[in-house]
């Protein structure tokens, strides 16, 4: 029965291009131009899904992105499985494989359907009232069961091999929705020369025009008019037409997020084409022309497969050449159901009856239906349906309940009125008003630069819709500063059957009447919520979950509101609407992440020497955006072995370290010394040119922000170094004070981190290693003592040489232009072989400095420590009247004796290395009392024992006292000591 429900001719499908596809392992044929839904319907398949809560059989309700029922998983191979896709928006391609979801073991036989039998127990909010005893059953029994029953499709199990693109765009007029209103708006705007973008979520532009077969616009058939309008727009250089592009979010100041699907409709997409593209559009003006969405009628059994929206059935017929069934019944509350009936009749498949809620229907429609041989049942409604996996019979009754009769059918096509799509309007902070014709909310006051047109603005009828689009296009252009065409342009419409969207409110339903199909929320659930005191629509939404499914309540919101308002005894307007939130339709994570995936999540900063380190087999660690070589293992070495070797090499011979990531800021100007004096704790004015000083920077709260050596290059020029991660923060802070507090100072700040690579050479053989290559600098200790600075050349490269040490050994930091760094590094490395040179990484650097008690900001401080806390009180220029943070150091809490203070810890068993983060507690007779924590702990090969630094409450007054150090279940005894473990007299610096 392949394509048994396809009419012999008509529709916009390409009958010359049959496409094979699979649904639940069954093979089917559709045509190019089909959606998965239209192709399934053509093959007589209505039952395609199970609902979320009751696992009820569900069919295809709609023909668009509002679909609540027909969600499927589309499988393009193991790594390209996508769950929860509406079959109504999935464009068919050859070889498409789809499967239904949320059932076990199969769609037809689903154990979860037992929930449906239990529905009297599983009413709205039931889970808040039970599953509480026994207590531990929630985590072990109840919740796992609930979770397994919930959820729709399955998440993919492999990394997504596809990639996604992002594009920023700017335009004067962004038109969202490519139906008649949007196209008319675009035509109006195109002629003005404004930059126009027209986007539509469907595979074809045209919206409702695609479902029109008998109407003529300006003497052309609707389809031909559409083709020619699109041709005009596509030919215009100032117009961009983008299809398969769903505007999902309206953000600040006319900034719109749009998700465009690029390959999901292709059988064999190219590997270098992104799967989706996220458009981020900033528009001067936006025209919202998203049309309206048909509402279901609310009656018992309205969710059975075969029950479909009438407008959707009309689309399937006219656009896809597909009949929803062979014997349909129309149930409607407004004229639009009649249009479907008449189109079906013309296609030779007239419905047996039209059941209209209204006692009075336009005589023209009644006459036409009579001509088509359709029974008209007015003042009546459907009260229940039957049929296991497809509607078979329905019962209708007059509105007063009398006159019940049964009708046989294989499809029930319903219309409960139309809901203008105001989601984006509302996200744009546009206000809404209740419309008595639509019985829905329509746009009211416009936010700046935003216009609504067409059915989305509460306009109905093709001529009026086209005109409203044209006017909006004209107004938008004017607002964007373009000479606009006249606001009116008559569109001549022929062959349109006059129909009104006017509908009465639906009467209270009986039976299990579904409002939110996907989340299985019934009218009764809404009434129950109100009965239980949930009076705000937001509460009702949350208690019943109505409108919270993947369709975001597109078909259900107004029906839920009407039911709630009726129960509360207020008007729908009084009850109000829940807030619309982005996205309008779901947007793929990958598209949001864009290029920030798979190795390009964040940039990696690498030093010039990094490739060399990689060649040497270095192990790296991420430090802020940088990656740094942590250690350089030789064959068979683990980190500890490598660090032992590297550290001994530095202490006994010479070591070389890539310190290029150090932040460097050049502070220049006549007031440079004054500036630093105000900013850093230290006294700078006394620092002579060519001399260095260790600087400490606080926040105004008195806590350490950063540290680093500062060299005074000349009278008016300082070279400030910062921590690796701190450079941007420090520069920002400097700029802030300079620009906003002390604009009188003549100082200029330049980041030079990238200009200078830094090679740190430390160890007794350091001078010997570098000397042969250096010109123009006297390296003698008299000319270049510790903490001195000089400029010269090294192997033909410019050199800024700092005699500084972060290891306690004789040390030099060679700053060379970054482009020369690799050459100099390799030169020194080659020469070093004879001097016992080791190359060391950050881990050894950390150990060597800890042996000397030098702190690392962020490791030995935590953002709540003052200079005094960590033993840097000596650096503070107390005679200075002021510096940033000084006042805070006199706050009451800063003066307390029990402040955390940095001390050393020597373990009783010298072989035991403490854990960083381990807790220090007192062991005194008063019992264990928390004192602080270990900040740094290492095995010191040089000392033949472990060393540790710790922040301990009042620690400096407790030298020699024993403490316990606790980590996990291990408790270690240790003694509080000073922080300088190695060479306390500081003699090595000149060794």
């Amino acid at each position: 029965m392949s394509n048994a429900y396809r009419i012999p001719a008509g529709g916009r499908i390409n009958r010359k291009k049959p496409l094979k596809f699979q649904f639940n392992n069954q093979n089917y044929i559709g045509f190019e131009g089909d959606t998965l839904a239209s192709a399934l319907l053509a093959n007589g398949v209505h039952f395609v899904a199970r609902s979320f809560k009751y696992h009820r059989p569900r069919g295809i309700l709609s023909a668009g992105s509002e679909e609540p029922n027909a969600l499927v998983t589309i499988n393009r191979g193991q790594a390209r499985v996508t769950p929860n896709l509406p079959a109504t928006t999935a464009q068919l391609y050859d070889g498409l494989i789809a499967a239904s979801q949320n059932h076990w073991p199969s769609l037809n036989v689903d154990a979860g359907a037992v929930n449906d039998l239990l529905h009297p127990v599983l009413a709205a909010g039931f889970y808040y009232k039970t599953f509480m005893w026994p207590r531990n059953f929630w985590n072990t029994v109840y919740e796992p069961f609930i979770r397994a029953a919930a959820g729709l499709g399955k998440a993919p199990s492999e990394p997504d091999p596809d990639f996604y693109a992002t594009r920023h765009a700017y335009c004067d007029v962004l038109i969202i929705g490519g139906g008649p209103a949007g196209i008319a708006a675009a035509l109006a705007a195109a002629a003005t020369g404004a930059r126009v973008m027209l986007v539509d979520e469907q595979s074809e532009m045209g919206g409702s025009l695609l479902s029109e077969v008998s109407v003529r616009i300006d003497s052309a058939a609707a389809g031909d008019w559409l083709a020619s309008a699109l041709e005009t727009l596509r030919a215009a250089p100032n117009v961009q037409v983008i299809q398969r592009a769903a505007a999902f979010g309206f953000y600040h100041e006319n900034f719109v997020g749009i998700g465009q699907r690029l390959t999901d409709h292709l059988a064999d997409p190219s590997a270098d084409c992104p799967r989706e593209r996220l458009w981020k559009v900033r528009a001067r003006t936006v025209i919202l022309a998203q049309g309206a969405i048909e509402r279901p009628l609310v009656f018992g059994g309205n969710d059975r497969p075969g029950v479909m929206l009438a407008g959707a059935a009309r689309t399937y017929l006219n656009r896809y050449g597909v009949l929803a069934g062979r014997s349909a019944v129309i149930a409607t509350s407004n004229d639009s159901g009649w249009l479907t009936a008449l189109d079906l009749a013309r296609a030779g498949s007239a419905p047996t009856a039209i059941v209209d809620m209204r006692p009075d229907v336009a005589p023209d429609l009644v006459a036409r239906a009579g001509d088509a041989g359709i029974e008209v049942i007015k003042d009546s409604r459907v009260i229940r349906t039957s049929g296991r996996f497809r509607v078979r019979r329905i019962v209708v009754a007059r509105n007063d309940g009398a006159g019940q009769r049964e009708l046989a059918c294989d499809s029930l096509l319903m219309s409960g009125g139309w809901t203008p799509s105001v989601h984006l309007w509302s996200q744009a902070n546009g206000t809404l008003s209740w419309d008595e014709t639509f019985k829905a909310f329509v746009p009211e006051a416009a936010p700046g630069g935003v216009f609504a047109a067409g059915a989305g603005a509460g306009v109905f009828g093709l001529g009026e819709t086209l005109q409203s689009g044209w006017s909006a296009g004209s107004a938008a252009c004017r607002s964007a500063g373009f000479g606009a065409p006249g606001a009116t342009r008559g569109f001549r419409i022929e062959g349109e059957i006059a129909a009104s969207p006017a509908t009465p409110l639906q009467a209270p339903s009986t039976g299990r009447a579904f409002i939110d199909f996907q989340n299985d929320v019934t009218a009764k659930d809404i009434r129950l919520a109100v009965q239980e005191g949930f009076q705000s629509v937001e509460h009702i939404k949350r208690y019943t979950t109505t409108g919270m499914a993947t369709d975001q309540g597109k078909t259900s919101n107004i029906n839920a509101l009407a039911e709630a308002a009726a129960t509360l005894g207020v008007s729908p307007q009084q009850a109000g609407l829940t807030r619309f939130r982005p996205p309008y339709s779901p947007i793929t994570f990958g598209a949001l992440a864009g290029m920030k995936r798979n190795g390009t999540f964040q940039p990696v900063r690498r030093t010039e020497i990094d490739p060399w380190a990689e060649q040497q087999g270095a192990v790296f660690e991420p430090v802020s955006l940088w990656r740094r070589a942590r250690y350089f293992p030789k064959a068979g070495e683990d980190m500890h072995a490598a660090v032992r070797r590297e550290s001994v090499g530095v202490r006994t011979a010479v070591g070389m370290f890539d310190a290029s990531t150090l932040g460097k800021i050049e502070v220049v100007g006549p007031d440079a010394a004054e500036f630093l004096n105000r900013l850093y704790v230290n006294a700078w004015k006394s620092l002579a040119p060519s001399r260095c000083k260790y600087g400490v920077l606080l926040g105004e709260d008195g806590f350490i922000r950063d540290d680093g050596v500062v060299a005074r290059l000349t009278e008016d020029r300082f070279h400030v170094t910062t921590t690796t991660g701190g450079a941007p923060r420090v520069l920002t802070m400097m700029e802030d004070y300079l620009q906003t507090e002390w604009p009188d100072l003549q100082v200029w700040l330049t980041s030079t981190t990238e200009q200078w690579a830094v090679i740190a050479v430390n160890g007794p053989n350091a001078k010997q290693l570098i000397a042969p290559f250096i010109d123009g600098i006297d390296l003698s200790d008299e000319a270049l003592p510790h903490m001195a600075y000089a400029e010269g050349n090294i192997a033909g490269a410019q050199l800024r040489l700092f005699r500084v040490s972060f290891t306690g050994e004789r040390g030099y930091e060679l700053n060379v232009p970054t482009s020369e760094a690799r050459r100099i590094w390799e030169l020194l490395h080659a020469a070093g072989a004879a001097l016992g040179l080791v190359v060391y990484g950050t881990e050894t650097m950390h150990l060597l400095r800890a042996e000397k008690g030098y702190i690392i900001v962020g490791q030995d401080t935590d953002g709540t420590n003052t200079p005094q806390d960590v033993g840097l009180g000596w650096a503070v220029g107390n005679k200075k009247k002021d510096f940033v943070g000084k006042r805070s150091l006199n706050r009451p809490d800063m003066l307390k004796a029990d402040r955390p203070q940095l001390v050393g810890l020597l373990t009783e068993d010298s072989r035991t290395v403490l854990e960083e983060g381990a807790q220090v507690v007192s062991t005194g007779p008063a019992g264990a009392r928390p004192l602080g924590h270990v900040t740094s702990a290492y095995w010191s090969e040089a000392l033949g024992r472990s060393v540790a630094l710790a922040l301990v409450a009042g620690g400096r007054a407790c030298m020699g006292q024993d403490v316990a150090v606790c980590a996990a279940k291990v408790q270690t005894r240790a003694t509080i000591s000073g922080t300088v473990f190695y060479d306390p007299k500081g003699e090595r610096i000149n060794a």
């Binding site: 996508t82 769950p83 808040y128 609930i146 998440a155 993919p156 979010g249 921590t723 962020g858 924590h933």
Partner: protein, 416 residues
């Protein structure tokens, strides 16, 4: 009617007709012993504990909109107590202990799901910081343990632990007692239980200002619906605290920022726990409905718009895809914003104010939901006794003068 399986069955047979309103609609009385402004979890909870533990039942809870409509109903519901400082850990663990029996306490299933909270370490610095947390927590008897990357993946199979990742997972701190709960149920459960004990819950009644008498003492609250007198007024309005407290002449160290969250479409169980990453900037769990619930940091500027920017969502989702590359084909279903009030040290202010009879509970920033029962409990104590409970004593306003900050963020986030 007491909630139970039995009452469900009785109603199932009675066509749900026996259920009554979970809290009555009441008109404000002219005077209360205490008014709590803000019917979020913290405010409703405080009213409940005032009634239950302190016998103060002449209490009103006012809200400008619908109860539970602020951050209580907008957060990602993560619950944990593995904070660094003893003061914080003490307060949050008090809350966690109350969470463990909250459903029974309130006779309302708040669906507290102890799925475990996994906090990922991606750098050596992270390891140091998290181990400090782990050992500090263990010292207090609060569960928190260190996992290797392989152990972390065993606990959370979709987690990417590849060493090639931009920020490879180097380990994780796991608090097994942590988890998530059903946020709305917390507000509703407290509201119902408080109402049962005589508390008036008055929705759609915005507090305009706080009135003080000639002596400077609190006199009541001017609302949209007129003046309501009270002996004591307690403010628990999160992002809207500054304007209201200003009306009583109290200026606070607070700034309100937009915080966004989002959920995916529902899928079958795939995330067994909560995963948080400070370095990659994202957190994620899966709700009982099957939605992946995702959040990250605040937008950069202060705002009362309850509306965030798209680029924050992009960054958040990118972070999640970095941690879980298999989620890239999932789709965002819903995205929303709340207003969080942030203090300079990212810790709350819970206690008395310079105005006699006026109390404030604010500054929870991005982390208030998890503290709900604990905060409400100690806040009620503070209101009833006019002195702080031992657990909220350190969270006094005066710390900003003395410098005795409880700076969880600084302790965790300083890079080197």
């Amino acid at each position: 009617m007491r909630f139970s399986f039995l009452s469900l069955m009785r109603n199932a047979m009675a066509g749900q007709s026996l259920w009554t309103p979970q809290w009555p609609q009441v008109e404000p009385k002219p005077f209360y012993d205490a008014i709590i402004v803000g019917a979020g979890g913290h405010g409703l909870g405080a009213a409940y504990y005032l009634a239950k533990e302190h016998g103060i039942t002449n209490v009103a809870v006012l809200d400008k909109g619908w109860l539970g409509g602020g951050n209580t109903g907008r957060n990602t519901t993560i619950i944990r107590s593995n904070y660094l400082y003893d003061e914080s850990a003490g307060l949050y663990d008090h809350a966690l202990k109350l969470w463990e029996s909250l459903s029974q306490e309130l006779n309302y299933n708040v669906m507290f799901s102890q799925r475990g909270v996994l906090m990922l370490a991606h750098t050596v610095h992270d390891i140091q910081v998290f181990k400090r947390h782990v050992y500090a927590n263990q010292r207090l008897g609060i569960d928190n343990e260190w996992l290797t990357p392989a152990e972390a993946q065993a606990y959370c199979p979709p987690l990417n632990i590849s060493a090639d990742a931009r920020y490879p997972v180097l380990g994780a701190a796991l608090q097994r007692r942590g988890g998530v709960a059903r946020h709305d149920a917390v507000a509703w459960g407290y509201a119902r239980a408080a109402a049962e004990r005589g508390v008036d819950i008055i929705q759609n009644c915005a507090a305009v200002s706080i009135r003080r008498d000639a002596d400077g003492r609190v006199a009541g609250v001017d609302t949209e619906r007129g003046f309501i007198g009270a002996k004591k007024v307690a403010v628990s309005v999160a992002g809207n605290t500054s304007p209201l407290m200003e009306s009583a002449g109290v200026r606070l160290p607070l700034e309100s920022y937009p915080l966004q969250a989002l959920v995916s479409e529902p899928v079958k169980p795939v995330m067994p726990c909560v995963v948080m990453s400070n370095t990659v900037h994202g957190y994620i769990s899966q709700s009982d409905k099957g939605e992946l619930v995702i959040g990250s940091g605040t937008d950069q500027y202060i705002s009362y718009s309850q509306r965030g920017a798209l680029h924050i969502v992009e960054e958040t989702v990118a972070a999640i895809c970095e941690l879980f590359p298999t989620f890239s084909r999932m789709r965002m279903l819903r995205n929303w914003g709340g207003i969080v009030d942030v203090t300079p040290d990212r810790s709350p202010i819970v206690g008395k104010t310079p105005v006699p009879g006026l109390y404030v509970n604010c500054g929870w920033g991005t982390g208030g939901f998890k503290a709900t029962p604990g905060s409400a409990h100690v806040f009620a104590h503070t209101i009833a006794r006019d002195e702080p409970h031992g657990l909220n004593a350190p969270f006094h306003l005066d710390r900003f003068r003395t410098g005795r900050l409880i700076d969880e963020a600084a302790a965790a986030a300083v890079a080197h």
